[in-house]
């Protein structure tokens, strides 16, 4: 039942009490809305009960194993929520440090930003970071704009950005929105980007090459350095999509490989909660040559040990966010990095990779591997074998729901037919993975012995499969009075 359908005229869930100033004349009617918005009127209890019960209809990391590939659904430490809730952080107005004499009012938050940037530089091997991008895709857009600014500054006019066909949709999309045309490189039979085609496409008018490393197949390309050098040879820049950085912590740094621009997803690698779709944070790191183009403001440490906002970067691309990024998210990631520390970050990468390979090893006899290779933080299977019996990746996903598992990412990457992309993350125990694997094996068996059972799933949820076609054909996108 919609909260609007629980509305009762005259009910109040919250009151601001009596106005403590003498009321002046009302605003002229011509400026006022004709009718009040039709908003639901409920008691506080009924609002709390409504949303509490809604929450109980969701799977989540705290309640279910959530091996959603490419999303790194690791445990979100509770203490980071507490830290982000400290009044000193949560109640600070972002404009305070921009007031003359206001710098002193935000030293704590400015220090967080400054120190977080330093840590991310060291983790990735980049020269500087902007923490402003509010998600990975926003980081991509920012990164591509930096690339454009770089080339413009060099006076070179380039119109293409290269992405492999395995790339995440945001990559080509971000490239386009920043004003570039996209060249797509196919993936070879060996699971790596086709180097012949790559060389062919890598013309002098290519501005940058966007890669995910390890790529979206969960594979680390041993030729990554060659690929990078080739691009640099034609004056193109290398963009690193850091969505999969979890596998690389302390193992390999994009900066050392030669990437020029890097975005991170703090809500993946650094354990900030995904919040049902966001907020995230997508800081962008750059190599020395691109630092001068970073968005303003930037946080600097002054000689007297105080922190300040600096706007004086004539070549900066300008503002990409209203302020300093999703501070609350950055703060949680910063706390997480401090807690884990060097050894903890390295261990996270190692165990994430161990879990994924273990999963892959245990399932490879039952499902077709997209490419039979050692994987990094995630493994990608294809349900083609099951499709022979009419059981699709989607069916497998739905059956997993009945068993209390959030399904893996399905149908991505697009180059893998019937893809099942499994990312266990390092915070899940062997027991959890074993139980999940057993369920997957049971499904493989059922696909042969009783496919209908799988295709009927889910049967244990409040609702069965939904009619998505109808949703798109006859859009019902909001409640109407």
């Amino acid at each position: 039942m919609l909260i609007f359908e629980k509305h009762k005229e005259g009910r109040r869930g919250f009151s601001y009490g009596v106005l403590d100033v003498a009321a002046s004349k009302a605003l002229p009617a011509k400026y006022c809305r004709a009718a009040a918005a039709c908003l639901p009127c409920l008691s506080e209890l009924d609002v709390v009960r409504h949303y509490t019960n809604l929450s109980r209809l969701n799977f989540s990391v705290d309640t279910n194993f959530y091996p959603l590939g490419s999303c790194t659904m690791k445990y979100n430490p509770k203490f980071t929520e507490k830290v982000a809730g400290f009044d000193g952080f949560s109640q600070l107005h972002p404009l305070l440090p921009q007031l003359s004499g206001g710098g002193a009012l935000a030293q704590g938050s400015l220090e967080v930003l400054y120190e977080a940037e330093k840590l991310l530089c060291e983790i990735t091997g980049m020269s500087a970071f902007t923490l402003q991008p509010m998600a990975g895709a926003h980081g991509e857009l920012t990164g591509v704009m930096l690339i454009a600014a770089y080339h413009k500054d060099k006076g070179s006019r380039r119109k293409y950005i290269i992405v492999p066909d395995s790339s995440h949709g945001t990559n080509p999309s971000s490239a386009t929105i920043a004003g570039y045309e996209v060249k797509v490189i196919p993936t070879g039979a060996d699971g790596y980007m086709d180097l012949v085609e790559y060389e062919k496409q890598l013309t002098a008018d290519v501005a940058a090459v966007m890669l995910t490393c390890p790529d979206t197949l969960g594979i680390f390309n041993p030729k990554i350095k060659e690929i990078t050098d080739m691009a640099h040879k034609v004056g193109a820049l290398m963009y690193y999509d850091g969505a999969n950085l979890n596998a690389m912590l302390g193992k390999c740094r994009p900066g050392d490989i030669g990437f020029d621009v890097v975005h991170l997803n703090l809500h993946k690698t650094f354990a900030t909660p995904h919040g049902g779709g966001g907020p995230g944070a997508g800081p962008v790191g750059v190599s020395a040559g691109l630092v001068e183009f970073l968005p303003i403001s930037r946080v600097i440490l002054r000689g007297d040990g105080t922190y300040a906002l600096n706007y004086n970067y004539p070549k900066s691309i300008g503002y990409i966010a209203p302020f300093y990024g999703n501070f609350g998210v950055i703060l949680k990631a910063y706390a997480y990095i401090l807690l884990l520390g060097k050894e903890g970050l390295i261990r996270a990468a190692e165990i994430a990779v161990l879990n994924a390979n273990y999963c892959q090893a245990k399932l490879k006899n039952y499902y077709d591997l997209a490419f039979d290779k050692k994987c990094m933080h995630e493994c990608v299977f294809s349900a083609m074998r099951q499709v022979k019996n009419g059981v699709h990746a989607l069916d497998i996903a739905k059956y997993l729901i009945d068993k209390g598992y959030h399904p893996p990412t399905i149908y991505f990457p697009l180059i893998v037919k019937e893809a099942l992309m499994i990312e266990p993350t390092e915070t899940e125990s062997k027991e959890t993975i074993d139980a999940f694997v057993d369920t997957m094996i049971e499904i493989a068996r059922l696909a042969v012995e009783n496919p209908l059972l799988v295709k009927q799933a889910p049967v244990s949820m409040p609702i069965k499969r939904l009619d998505e076609v109808r949703a798109a054909r006859q859009p019902d996108l909001c409640w109407k009075p």
Binding site: V47, F79, L141, M145, I320
Partner: protein, 445 residues
């Protein structure tokens, strides 16, 4: 401290299953030459140590000031029940509801959020959220450009300069022609505006209340804009919509704005909430996720992500936007906040903001040498002209315990003596009077 459950035995058994001798072997695809040249991260700490350290840092921020700074981002009260709901694990540790059967709670909540945004703005459809008010405005502008196939954007200089700057940044590599309309007596100059609108115009962008706090009725502008087949885009402040004429009522095609005022903490600039609602004809141009209602195989009502063919994960370089992760948890905050207030509560909230600002105006108007700008009505923010440079005044007021407003000189040439003052429902009469008294002292010396 790390969050890894693996024991030595676990690791040994798992390596055997995989068929490798060591964890290092799993990383053997990484060429030696690419091993990190350095990785100087401090060693791990305990939860107590980190919590303590960051608590001490938080104390280095001063949130004790009585706040009159707004400029598009406001110090509103957040009911405790809003925090209680968003801290439900099943909300904040879930991700995008790609799998509807195990995400109905999220999907319905977003559907309700979309409905609330439509109700507030008076438009037909809303998406599931965008990053913030600035990126939302950028997306709206791009929609207009795609929709009209034109590239001239007329933007009022009453639009928050932060947002205008963002638009210029995002389009620096695109061919978009901007025309800025001056603000006269705090309001958008109709003369100028009407001169500029033509059949090359993709959209006109206006803000209400504008950056100076001035309320306007843009109905006339919108009809003029529509005559030339251009779109009208409004950037609005949701709390004000408890009182003010809606974008829908004025005929706007697209409304966007910053949702921070709807139960989201100031949190030093983010995470915030970009919202967008449009006329239904524009829905397939809309960026971001959208939740729709449908039925399951038993005909039972349910909710799903829909119209995904607009999105990057399907359309890739042809998508309407590159957005993937959005600000769902902030959208949930807004939904809970508005549901809690309800129709009457939101009205009351708007009323308190309006009345307290009016009260502050009256008090300030009595101050020697202070001129309260009253050429047009305002909502909860207004500008005053000081006898001297506002920066210094602000500085002196800080020492007296007040963040007394935003000095307009920072954004507008020739306005060094202007101060933008926001008064929300949190400011008590006592605080306002103390504030005025302190300002008097400051100006006296």
């Amino acid at each position: 401290m790390s969050f890894i459950p693996h024991t030595k035995e676990d690791i040994k058994e798992m390596l055997e299953v995989i068929g490798v001798k060591s964890i290092d072997e799993l990383f053997s695809d990484i060429p030696k030459a690419l091993k990190p040249q350095s990785f100087n991260i401090p060693y791990g700490k305990s939860e107590f140590q980190v919590t303590q350290a960051l608590h001490n840092l938080s104390l280095k921020n001063s949130t004790g000031l009585v706040n009159f700074v707004g400029a598009g981002f406001y110090d509103h009260f957040i009911p405790a029940s809003v925090d209680a709901i968003v801290s439900r694990s099943e909300f904040y540790t879930a991700y995008t509801p790609y799998q509807p059967e195990c995400s109905q709670g999220w999907l319905q909540a977003i559907y309700e959020y979309q409905s609330i945004i439509c109700q507030l703005t008076g438009l037909d459809v809303s998406n599931a959220s965008l990053y913030d008010g600035g990126t939302a405005l950028f997306e709206a502008m791009m929609m207009a450009i795609r929709q009209t196939g034109r590239n001239k954007i007329i933007i009022d200089s009453g639009v928050n300069l932060i947002y205008r700057t963002m638009l210029y940044t995002y389009t620096s590599n695109l061919s978009v022609e901007f025309v800025e309309i001056p603000v006269v007596h705090g309001q958008s100059s109709r003369g100028e505006l009407f001169k500029c609108v033509d059949d090359k115009t993709a959209a006109v962008i206006l803000q209400n209340p504008n950056f100076f706090g001035a309320i306007d009725d843009y109905g006339d502008v919108v009809s003029r804009v529509h005559k030339f087949g251009a779109l009208a885009i409004a950037s609005v402040y949701p709390v004000s919509l408890g009182m003010l004429k809606t974008p829908g009522e004025m005929g706007f095609d697209i409304a966007t704005g910053e949702g921070q005022s709807l139960g989201i903490p100031l949190s030093f600039g983010g995470p915030y909430l970009g919202f967008m609602s449009v006329r239904k004809e524009l829905v397939r141009q809309m960026p971001g996720r959208i939740v729709g209602a449908t039925v399951d195989s038993d005909g039972k009502k349910g909710f799903v992500l829909t119209l995904q063919t607009r999105e990057q994960h399907i359309r890739r370089q042809h998508a309407t936007s590159n957005i993937c992760s959005n600000e769902a948890l902030c959208a949930l905050r807004a939904a809970v906040f508005v549901s809690l207030l309800g129709k009457d509560g939101l009205k009351e909230l708007a009323e308190h903001n309006y009345q307290k600002a009016e009260f502050a105006k009256e008090q300030l108007a009595c101050l020697q040498g202070v001129e309260v700008k009253r050429s047009s009505p305002t909502f909860n923010e207004f500008t005053i002209l000081l006898p001297r440079n506002a920066d210094k005044v602000v500085q002196q007021m800080i020492e007296k315990g007040f963040a007394c407003g935003f000095p307009l000189g920072r954004f507008y040439k020739g306005m060094d003596n202007y101060l933008l003052i926001a008064v929300t429902e949190k400011r008590t009469q006592e605080e306002i009077l103390k504030f005025v008294a302190s300002l008097k002292e400051v100006l006296a010396c």
